[in-house]
Symmetry: C2
Subunit: 327 residues, 2 copies
């Protein structure tokens, strides 16, 4: 992990604990999901990377805000991210998350819908402390994210081009990352041009992050990534490698791909065939190339933003981390 992700971790975990305090059984469920409490009620740290809230604090501090002014925004963003995970897991029928059973598996679907809804509402209670502009920014990002998720669900029924894929991830996963940078800027009272530069940077980082994530969903080491190799093929996820394979394949392979992606469940021999096809078509190299190009763009945008020497080092390290991350 990079320094940017480590520096404020304890502060963020404390902020999450304060925001999610409560004695109801629903509040216990959300604390366990977020990864700050175990089933026995003890404090733990299973909260994942905390990338988005770390970025809020990083940007806010770089642009001159105090960390305590930015904390509610950082916490709120992480809560919105977590609400989306709870609801996505129901929709995608995912059974594990961060090495733990998902909320709907443990508590049933109805309670999982509720748990997501609670996280969502608490997020907006927290962000209200940062003023209306921050609220509007988080709401707009959430709208984008939900629309992106809806696009992704609609992709389950058809193949998509790389452009359609990109438009989807820019909303589904890009929106909250852009929001992280913008919230930092808003809390610090930055001007519009700084906000624009940060948005461009965030958009590029978001794409690189998601494509890398998609690659790991197929070729990642199961033990490290937390899900078995090939799992995104098994669940027929419309990821960058699939869009890319579909674009590059000849008519016969394309036909076979369509056949496999319309069968349920996908046979293990077909999973292997798809992965081999992708490798034969050079998809891993194409994906790595796109990630590299996108991060180079990001480095360009970074040049337009005033950062401290340490700040620039932190962002460079983050870019390197995203370029090479294995989990």
């Amino acid at each position: 992990m990079t320094r940017l992700l480590e520096e404020n971790r304890v502060r963020l975990l404390d902020g999450l604990r304060d925001a999610l305090a409560g004695s109801s059984s629903l509040s216990r469920i959300v604390r366990q999901h977020v990864g700050i409490e175990d089933a026995a009620g003890g404090a733990v740290d299973g909260a994942g990377k905390l990338l988005r809230p770390s970025l809020v604090l990083f940007v806010a501090e770089e642009l001159g805000a105090r960390l305590d002014e930015a904390l509610p925004a950082a916490v709120a963003l992480e809560l919105v991210h977590n609400f989306s995970l709870v609801h996505d897991d129901i929709q995608d029928r995912d059974r594990t998350r961060r090495g733990r059973p998902t909320v709907w598996v443990t508590h049933g679907e109805a309670m999982a819908i509720n748990a997501g809804d609670l996280l969502y509402a608490i997020a907006f209670r927290e962000i209200a402390r940062c003023g209306s502009a921050a609220v509007a920014c988080l709401a707009e990002a959430t709208i984008d994210m939900v629309e992106g998720q809806s696009l992704d669900l609609s992709f389950e029924r058809r193949f998509v081009t790389i452009d359609e894929y990109t438009a989807m991830i820019d909303r589904k996963t890009g929106a909250l990352l852009r929001c992280a940078f913008e919230l930092g800027a808003i809390v610090a009272g930055a001007d519009d041009s700084a906000r624009r530069a940060l948005r461009d940077l965030a958009m590029a980082l978001g794409r690189a992050f998601q494509i890398q994530d998609d690659v790991l969903g197929i070729w990642g080491d199961g033990d490290v990534v937390g899900k078995p190799q090939g799992s995104d093929v098994r669940r027929r996820k419309k990821s960058f490698p699939v869009a890319s394979a579909f674009a590059l394949a000849g008519p016969a392979d394309r036909c076979r791909l369509e056949e496999i992606y319309s069968a349920e469940p996908v046979a293990e021999t077909d999973v292997t065939w798809v992965i081999l096809l992708m490798e034969r078509l050079g998809v891993p190299a194409a994906a790595a190339g796109t990630v590299r190009e996108t991060l180079a763009q990001a480095a360009g945008y970074l040049g337009r933003i005033q950062l401290s020497a340490t700040g620039r080092g932190d962002m460079d390290a983050l870019i390197d981390y995203l370029a090479g991350r294995t989990k």
Copy 2:
């Protein structure tokens, strides 16, 4: 309907249309659910009573705000109410709502979760225009509502006392009604004591409204209420009449009640038996008495609030309407 519910209806429908404008298929789904658009994309008015947003505008105007200042808050509250209906319908497996198929029936569960999430996010984008205090108020009310829904879900597995029932409805349905009054006060810049008086009034109105709703869910005329007579018994809903019957019943009847409420599906002969038991125990009269008492309390709280002569007439009419409503 009372004048209070009719006066600003067109304005509210326009506000909802503006807030929900958009070309995505998800935004079409939410417009249809809210009842402002038909399947062919034409404008319709199937939006229900619009009680909560009408109250926001009423209170705001009575306390001196301009209607256009209060409109985003009113629209936001109606959107939060609608998000909760979409998610509740999934959880309760309800197949119709306002005479139309529910979102999950038409578009599947995954898309229905998303549709609710979109309404939720748009609500907070709208309320942001009314300032941080309004955002915090709506977020707190939403937290209460979601916690109340979670309590209600937990009641599915056991019988509850009337006190437990009351604590649940104060949150599940009372929270948004209180929020309606408070948002009106916030937009108008009212002081804390006015807010407190309005909260008390809203709490009483909310209880009366919900108990009346529970009565209609069992004895209401199917054609008027939009669901068949006895339907809340059939779906084993833990409503005021059930809590009340359970409190009043002797050991043998209580045993039989427990048996019936743990069977699925509930047999039609048992539905009839439960309704007859309730009538034998005097539940309808007890419910009517509680509604009457609660509305008398409401009338008392109303005396603490400064209203115009027309405003007082409107509130009195609303109380009469709630006391006698058949749908």
